[in-house]
């Protein structure tokens, strides 16, 4: 599955520097525990969201991030404050990773007034100016041009910030992705394109949708360097993230990271996922789980005891339960909200 140790996808283009196979630097105790807690928060949050969906408290589409936690957490360990994040509709993990309040996120999922969009946006459309999280977009591929625009603004303002643009393997086939790549390279925009290759776009495997399945090479004809990264290993993600972000921040232009990852659940809540075997999912969970990997390392290296990890589990569960509680009891938006926020 996941590219064993961050495999550099090599570009022969003159301008695109060859990327060294990234070392998976080992984490300090603090980093391991941080990654463990943050990934676990996403996992428990998403499980709870799935539960609330089943109870009818969440409606519409709800796309869970379970399995992919290492990608966004690893990347957030590589950013500087003020760097922007933008993604598609599988966005709950990104919001939590940007330190948005789980209560506000969950309340948006249930369509309540305390949600980040006052209940008007729902699962796929949430934003936080404060946390530099630019959404939350329902149209596959649209965020790629938008994220390129964020990078454009960074360069224009000379603020030294980098824009992280997340999209899926399926989205990587949209035309505007390549229009954006071209402009980003042409204008040396500080963008890092993070392709979350979870092997499927809805029910279609990468092999059935992409003529070249090495998505890290999608920038070749624009001279954009790219690498394939084991997106199930949070350390590999962070290491690659640091390289890519440094490249973009230094004025060299965009960079592509293909995160090889996996989603455990169906595409959305209504997907019976008949296009893959249970075995495939089971194997991935048992042998590559991003959280279990960290947990095992922590215990092996005696960086924390079972009991200490249990305490983290409990803390995370409490946060998630409080979010669910809030999201279930917070009132719906006032009817007058129907007519607000259309223009300002």
């Amino acid at each position: 599955m996941a590219a064993s140790a961050a495999n550099a996808a090599r570009s022969n283009a003159d301008d695109a520097e060859t990327v060294e196979a990234g070392d998976v630097l080992s984490f300090t105790k603090e980093q391991e525990l941080h990654a463990y807690r943050e990934m676990l928060l996403i996992r428990r949050f998403e499980e709870k969201a799935g539960q609330l969906y089943g109870m009818g408290l969440i409606g519409g589409f709800c796309h869970l991030y379970i399995g992919q936690e290492a990608v966004v957490i690893g990347m957030q360990m590589a950013v500087e404050p003020g760097d922007q994040v933008i993604t598609g509709y599988r966005d709950h993990g990104h919001m939590l990773a940007c330190e948005m309040d789980p209560k506000g996120v969950m309340a948006e999922l249930t369509g309540r007034r305390g949600g980040y969009s006052k209940g008007k946006g729902g699962s796929m459309h949430m934003f936080s100016v404060e946390k530099q999280f630019y959404g939350g977009h329902g149209i596959v591929g649209a965020q790629v041009s938008l994220g390129t625009g964020l990078a454009f603004a960074n360069k224009y303002k000379k603020n030294g910030k980098v824009s992280l643009v997340y999209f899926g393997d399926g989205a990587s086939n949209q035309g505007q992705v390549y229009e954006s790549f071209n402009m980003a390279k042409l204008w040396h925009l500080p963008a890092v394109y993070v392709i979350e290759n979870n092997k499927y776009g809805m029910g279609t495997s990468v092999e059935r949708a992409s003529s070249n399945t090495n998505l890290s090479q999608r920038g070749l004809s624009f001279d954009i360097p790219g690498e394939q990264v084991d997106g199930m290993d949070v350390r590999a993600v962070r290491a690659a993230g640091e390289r890519a972000i440094a490249h973009a921040r230094s004025g060299k232009g965009p960079y592509i990271l293909e995160m090889v990852t996996y989603r455990y659940r169906g595409h959305s809540m209504s997907d019976p996922a008949k296009y893959r075997s249970k075995d495939e999912v089971q194997k991935m969970r048992e042998t590559h789980d991003p959280i279990e990997q960290v947990r095992a390392r922590i215990l092996k290296n005696e960086q924390a005891s079972e009991d200490e990890l249990k305490a983290i589990d409990k803390e995370v569960r409490d946060i998630v339960n409080a979010a669910a509680e809030f999201a279930s009891n917070d009132p719906e938006p006032d009817p007058s909200e129907l007519w607000t926020d259309i223009l300002r």
Binding site: K120, G122, Q174, M202, G203, T204, P272, Y275, L338
Partner: protein, 469 residues
């Protein structure tokens, strides 16, 4: 306290489902993530996972139970340390109660089969139009109850058998059997050369479809929903709709763009837009938006045969609704003809697609107050059958249009203008429009309801143009 397992909601539009099969027995231990049962929705068979750990203490809803409402308790899980005796107390009482409640509900449903109980949204349980689906169906024709979903599939199946140039392409249409299961079985019937899964590249594959049509093939291009056709709208309008004209009549584009249009349920602003007015603005396009399964079938067949570019607007909420469809070898409904779905003399209500659910229910309400509404199902938005509306207005003198789309430059606005041009002397009141509210679709359940038209709004508008209150 045993934990109740509730019938889960498994899709945006699911209100009830069939409990197909229990995969665990009473007494089995379960842990979080175990698949405990299979549930059939109208789209798929889904697995239910346990969220809690314990022992499956009691199954409350048996295998094969149909129409189990979301949130009905279906089983009890005994937590660690609890034994079956826990069921004798509270739990078994609440179990019995909920069990019999579910049964009662099921019975009530069965009785109400013909006459649906008043549902929360007008969209659920759509009323059937009173007139026969088409006047020229021969007498004695058998009618088969068919969902809109099946009717659309049947239309494509029949036309693909009839004409080898017809093929289907779009996202998830082949191996997944359609994101909304419209193309079920077509891959098996026609193979991967004629039922083609595309990457997520709407602008690209719409253009590929148009190019293939210019070369003489007859593509059916499915958009997973019409919201995503906005990625492709340049090819639809600049390349498909205008080429016949620009080539001086040499080169036409016979193609159908189809898929669900408008609001589904709780999918918010970017996934809930009605494009009827958009496409109906464009010369060179034909725009169809059926309501019943019979019209869905007959009009889709006509659309596929048509020599021009047809925009075929379906509705996700209607997919699972059933209507009688005439059992004929080749049932084709003419494009451009509206239909009187319910005759009346006091006020004319004009709608199409899901808007008909509001109009027909409003007509029932109005009848109770002695107002006989004539309901017209427009079926084709462009070319618009002005004559049928004018004929009705000559009789009633009053007109209300009903649509889920926005009011400004909407289809209702167009109808109102046409009535001024063609029926001014017969109008006894200004034309009234009931439309979606002038806002992007909100996600919150209460706001979404307010944003959509309602039966009450149609009733109110009808009374207003009748000067009744």
């Amino acid at each position: 306290m045993p934990i109740e397992v509730l019938m889960p909601a498994l899709s945006p539009t699911m209100e009830a489902g069939k409990l197909a099969k229990w995969l665990k027995n009473e007494g089995d231990s379960v842990k979080a993530g175990d698949v405990i049962a299979e549930i059939e929705t109208d789209k798929a068979t889904m697995e239910v996972e346990a969220v809690d750990e314990g022992v499956l203490g009691k199954i409350l809803v048996a295998d094969g139970s149909e129409d189990v409402k979301v949130n009905t308790p279906i089983a009890l899980i005994l937590a660690e340390g609890e034994d079956a005796s826990a069921l004798k107390g509270d739990a078994s009482r609440s179990a019995d109660a909920s069990g019999s409640k579910a049964e009662e509900q099921a019975k009530a449903e069965a009785k109400a089969d013909a006459k649906p109980a008043k549902a929360e949204s007008a969209a659920a349980n759509p009323p059937a139009p009173k007139a026969l689906p088409e006047p020229d169906v021969p007498e004695g024709t058998e009618f088969v109850t068919t969902t809109v979903r099946e009717a659309l599939r049947d239309a494509m199946l029949e036309e693909m058998k009839r004409d080898e140039r017809v093929f289907l392409m779009g996202e998830e249409v082949a191996e997944y059997q359609g994101a909304y299961k419209i193309s079920q079985g077509l891959l098996e019937e026609f193979g991967a050369e004629r039922v083609i899964d595309t990457p997520i590249t709407e602008h690209g594959f719409a253009g590929v479809g148009v190019g293939a049509a210019l070369a003489g093939l007859k593509p059916i291009v499915e958009f997973m929903t019409f919201n995503f056709a906005m990625q492709a709208i340049d090819q639809i309008i600049n390349s498909a709709a205008k080429t016949l004209y620009m080539s001086g009549g040499q080169m036409g584009c016979s193609i159908v763009f189809r898929g669900p249009n408008g609001a589904a349920a709780r999918v918010a602003a970017q996934h809930s837009q009605d494009y009827a007015a958009w496409y109906s603005n464009v010369p060179g396009l034909t725009v169809i938006a059926p309501y019943t399964a019979a019209d869905a079938k007959g009009l889709l067949k006509a659309a596929i045969r048509d020599e021009n570019t047809v925009i075929f607007l379906e509705n996700e909420i209607l997919y699972g609704q059933s209507f009688p469809v005439p059992k004929l070898d080749d049932y084709v409904v003419p494009i451009g003809k509206a239909k009187v779905a319910r005759p009346g003399k006091d006020v004319t209500l004009v709608s199409w697609s899901i808007g008909m659910t509001y109009a027909l229910k409003a007509a029932e309400e109005l009848a109770k107050e002695g107002i006989e509404a004539e309901v017209i199902d427009l079926r084709t938005i462009r070319p618009m059958d002005t004559e049928t509306i004018v004929e009705s207005v000559k009789k009633t003198g009053r007109l209300v249009t009903v649509e889920e789309g926005w009011a400004q430059s909407g289809v209702g606005a167009e109808i109102a203008a046409r009535m001024m041009e063609h029926a001014f002397d017969w109008l006894d009141a200004p034309v009234a429009r009931v439309t979606g509210k002038d806002v992007p679709m909100p996600y919150a359940a209460n706001l979404e309801k307010l944003a959509l038209p309602s039966v009450a709004e149609v009733v109110e508008a009808a009374k207003a143009v009748c000067y009744r209150d």
